[in-house]
């Protein structure tokens, strides 16, 4: 097979993929970023990266899975940048407010205040797949300061040790788990109010 035919084949295949999978990729990116423009950029970058790395794609593996793994890396990069973004960090007065808010959780002795003390949650079956619950969760996550939100994405999106994530972000492990702790305190409370205590 000549080089030109190979190239045309690759191009035909990539066009097929765009037709077949771009909506699915876009939907996932939109679910992850809640921003139309960001999601579109990420999907475009995914296809450009796929074009460049086309010869690494083995026909044996599933094209959609391959494209999704490229997209996921792009999404993680996006949150890494968001987390480091000095503009986002400097303007996060919200973060200061959130840290003041934490003082509401505990009294001067460091005990739970009356209204913040965690209550028992009734157990629910199939909670993970309940779409209404997931919407509530997404709503609660959106209330977090944006770099806390990015930290959660990086912690839960891929299987990576806390130490490694901290190295990549150039923050101390203490800094990282404290951000996660504050996020979880707030998420827990938000879910208790909006879901478990309905």
């Amino acid at each position: 097979m000549s080089l030109t035919t190979e190239k045309t084949d690759a191009n035909t295949m990539l066009h097929d993929w765009v037709n077949q999978y771009s909506d699915a990729l876009y939907s996932w990116a939109l679910h992850k970023t809640s921003d139309k423009e960001t999601a579109e950029d990420l999907v475009q970058e995914t296809f450009l990266a796929a074009t460049r790395a086309f010869n690494k794609f083995e026909n044996k593996s599933n094209a959609k899975t391959w494209l999704l793994s490229i997209l996921n890396n792009k999404i993680i990069d996006h949150y890494r940048k968001q987390f480091r973004n000095p503009l986002v960090r400097a303007t996060s007065q919200i973060e200061k407010n959130a840290s003041d808010l934490l003082d509401n959780f505990f009294n001067e002795y460091g005990e739970w205040t009356q209204e913040q003390r965690p209550q028992e949650w009734k157990e629910e079956e199939n909670l993970l797949d309940n779409s209404v619950f997931n919407q509530t969760l997404a709503g609660c996550m959106k209330k977090l300061p944006s770099n806390w939100f990015s930290a959660l994405q990086m912690k839960y999106m891929e299987e990576k040790s806390g130490e490694l994530i901290c190295q990549e972000l150039q923050i101390t492990p203490t800094n990282f788990w404290q951000i996660l702790h504050r996020s979880k305190l707030q998420l827990r409370k938000c879910l208790e109010i909006n879901w478990f205590a309905r």
């Binding site: 579109e40 996921n72 949650w121 959660l152 806390g162 788990w177």
Partner: protein, 89 residues
């Protein structure tokens, strides 16, 4: 009040205990941290619930933020994007 402070020095305050509970899912706790946390949650309902719910949160976040193989999510169509990418290939 002094008694309270002394108790917290040994058995931890809820503020410290809840922080250790979340620290645990990122870093390994030291022996002394594990022991103190164990003592604390054995006498404190609030933190025992917090510990249980911290695990639930880990699970729901994992499920919500990570794409599993056979997951189906609502497909949003974007014809414009499709055409835009096609011209760039």
């Amino acid at each position: 009040m002094i008694k309270k402070k002394m108790t917290h020095a040994v058995l931890l305050s809820c503020k410290k205990a809840s922080a250790l509970i979340d620290k645990k899912s990122v870093l390994e706790l030291s022996w002394i941290e594990r022991t103190q946390l164990h003592w604390h949650t054995s006498i404190c309902d609030g933190c025992r619930f917090y510990e249980k719910q911290s695990v639930i949160l880990n699970n729901v976040l994992l499920h919500h933020l990570r794409l599993s193989e056979n997951e189906t999510f609502a497909i949003v169509q974007n014809q414009e994007l499709k055409e835009k990418i096609a011209t760039k290939l």
